[in-house]
């Protein structure tokens, strides 16, 4: 049993998240919700001309693990190239969290990662996608996810 799950690193990110909010003009954005627990994460990226992530923001609602992981993810991806994001895999994400997660809690810890990966696929599909603006629906999910 993992007594150290809620260590200061996770709790610091949960209480004072890095870049929680919205970008004015995201290059790409994507939201997902874990229907089992209602946790929800939206990630927005701003890419520059050289294919680097200039800024990454997240918004969401849910448990400490899902929210801290999204914050850690945003901090990690800034400055990375699209290629590097493609190579970034689930075990890398879990390593970034520094605490071992049980199978059920991995779903929480990987929610932001899943959102990022889904966004990368849609980025591949259309090289310069119009940024999906937060819709009324996304916002209402953030407010009342259940």
């Amino acid at each position: 049993m993992n007594e150290e799950l809620y260590d200061d690193y996770i709790l610091d990110h949960y209480e004072c998240p890095y870049h929680k909010g919205h970008l004015a003009c995201p290059t790409c954005a994507h939201s997902e919700k874990n229907p089992l627990c209602g946790d929800q994460i939206r990630i927005e990226l701003k890419l520059n001309d050289t294919g680097h992530v200039e800024e990454a923001f997240f918004n969401g609602k849910g448990c400490a693990i899902s929210q801290a992981a999204a914050s850690i993810l945003c901090q990690h991806v800034e400055g990375k190239t699209v290629d590097e994001l493609h190579r970034f895999q689930a075990p890398d994400m879990l390593r970034l969290l520094k605490v071992p997660l049980t199978a059920t809690r991995q779903r929480c810890g990987l929610l932001g990662f899943k959102v990022l990966k889904a966004m990368m696929y849609s980025l591949d599909a259309s090289p310069t996608p119009p940024a999906q603006q937060p819709t009324a629906n996304d916002e209402s999910i953030v407010a009342t996810s259940g």
């Binding site: 209602g38 609602k61 448990c63 400490a64 693990i65 809690r105 929480c108 259940g146």
Partner: protein, 419 residues
């Protein structure tokens, strides 16, 4: 629902009763002592049930109603004896009105398909409410779509009860079905089944009661107040998973067409058409969960050996203590009605600690609860929270376990640097 005659065969002593449930004494993998407060999700099984399951599988396993051999005879007698126990347990008029299903979900779906799709017409109304489990909402949504009937919702009061001031307006001659839980699996709310049954019958409607949470904790009598359909699950009644019950009034069951079709449910099969077996086989297509159904009979024997008076007394003590201590615990908000209107379930949140984090931290201390929306998304929307933490008591829980729950909340708050 009123109390059928019962004669408990032993005095109630919680520590004595706990010895009947081997899992309660087993240390958890992390070494903690189990404090099992997730009985609303599934309950634990007494030795009487575990032994019965083994007896069936090890000594007379065979298919029922089929083999002309000694094992087949024995298992059929046992299965029908279990059916009769269930009949007496809910006071049905005859054992043919007891249909074995896989659980509450299948029981409700059976009614939604075999009764709903046959008898509902455009303009008819199905009356439900937002506190229902998804199993008592989604089948009706689908039935409404398929038949053109309309779904209507009884509004809830601020404390999470059905708002009776809307009954006159909502229960009319258009109403064909009232589907309602006897006990909410989140708020613990005990709904006024007697009044709803009377009103439904006054307008010629049928009432289906979801007894998944109530049947294990309160005496059930399907003839007083008279209800038409009752659905419940074995695994919340100290019995096995995979088996449940649909009680239906004979007249209704006879008017319905089969739900699932295949072996066991036929009378004669010809190339173009078939005729149906008599009740209950008409609704028991295929091979039943045989050991599980017999095990459910043993679970009912066990419950009756304690008696609902003793069960209720113990669970009320736990509920009263939880409702007293939880609000005194910093950051805690509890949902649902006051003590008089609820069964032994309490859902709550702790400020700044998400229910999943609570459940995880509780688990470190051995305290097993449920966190999430508990298959009631509409209710959580109504509560305006995305998730809650839920404790649900059984008679084998102790007052010390309520203290362990409160200690676990302090532990979680401490871990979250809130105290």
């Amino acid at each position: 629902m009123s109390t059928p005659l019962e004669t408990p065969s032993r005095p109630f002593d919680v520590h004595d009763v706990r010895r009947d449930f081997p899992i309660l004494a087993r240390p958890l993998p992390n070494g903690a002592t189990l404090v099992y407060l997730d009985n609303g999700a599934t309950s634990q099984k007494p030795l009487l049930v575990l032994d019965k399951l083994r007896e069936v599988e090890a000594t007379y396993n065979a298919n029922v109603h089929r083999g002309i051999h000694q094992l087949g005879d024995r298992v059929t007698v046992e299965l029908e004896a279990a059916r009769e126990k269930i009949q007496r347990f809910v006071n049905a008029a005859e054992s043919a009105e007891i249909i074995f299903t896989s659980g509450t979900t299948m029981s409700i779906n059976l009614v939604a398909f075999a009764w709903g799709r046959k008898f509902l017409k455009p303009g008819d109304e199905i009356l439900i409410n937002e506190m229902e489990h998804h199993a008592n909402i989604v089948p009706w949504q689908q039935t409404a779509k398929a038949t053109g009937a309309k779904l209507r919702y009884i509004p809830l009061t601020a404390d999470g009860r059905l708002d009776a001031s809307h009954f006159d307006r909502l229960i009319t001659t258009k109403t064909k079905l009232v589907a309602v839980t006897a006990m909410s699996n989140v708020l613990g709310t005990l709904n006024p089944i007697r009044e709803l049954a009377a009103r439904a019958h006054q307008v010629g409607a049928v009432i289906l009661v979801d007894g998944a949470q109530s049947v294990p904790h309160l005496p059930t009598d399907v003839r007083d107040p008279a209800i038409d359909f009752l659905a419940f699950s074995g695994h919340k009644l100290y019995g096995p998973t995979g088996v449940g019950v649909l009680y239906g009034r004979r007249e209704l069951l006879e008017a319905m067409d089969p739900f699932l079709c295949g072996g066991n449910m036929i009378n004669e099969v010809h190339l173009e058409s078939s005729t149906w077996a008599d009740l209950p086989s008409k609704f028991e297509a295929g091979t039943l969960p045989i050991a599980e159904a017999i095990g459910l009979g043993a679970a009912i024997d066990y419950v009756q050996s304690l008696g609902f008076a003793a069960i209720h007394a113990q669970e009320s003590k736990l509920l009263e203590k939880a409702l007293r201590l939880l609000p005194q615990t910093p950051g805690v908000t509890i949902y649902g009605p006051s003590f008089e209107h609820r069964g032994s379930i309490v859902s709550f949140t702790v400020e700044k600690v998400h229910p999943h984090d609570l459940a995880d931290l509780f688990d470190q201390k051995g305290v097993a609860i449920r966190a999430g929306h508990h298959c009631t998304m509409p209710l959580h929307d109504w509560l305006d929270v995305s998730a809650t933490a839920r404790v649900s008591f059984a008679f084998y829980n102790t007052e010390a376990e309520v203290d362990a729950l409160i200690d676990a909340i302090h532990y979680a708050r401490h871990k979250f640097r809130l105290e």
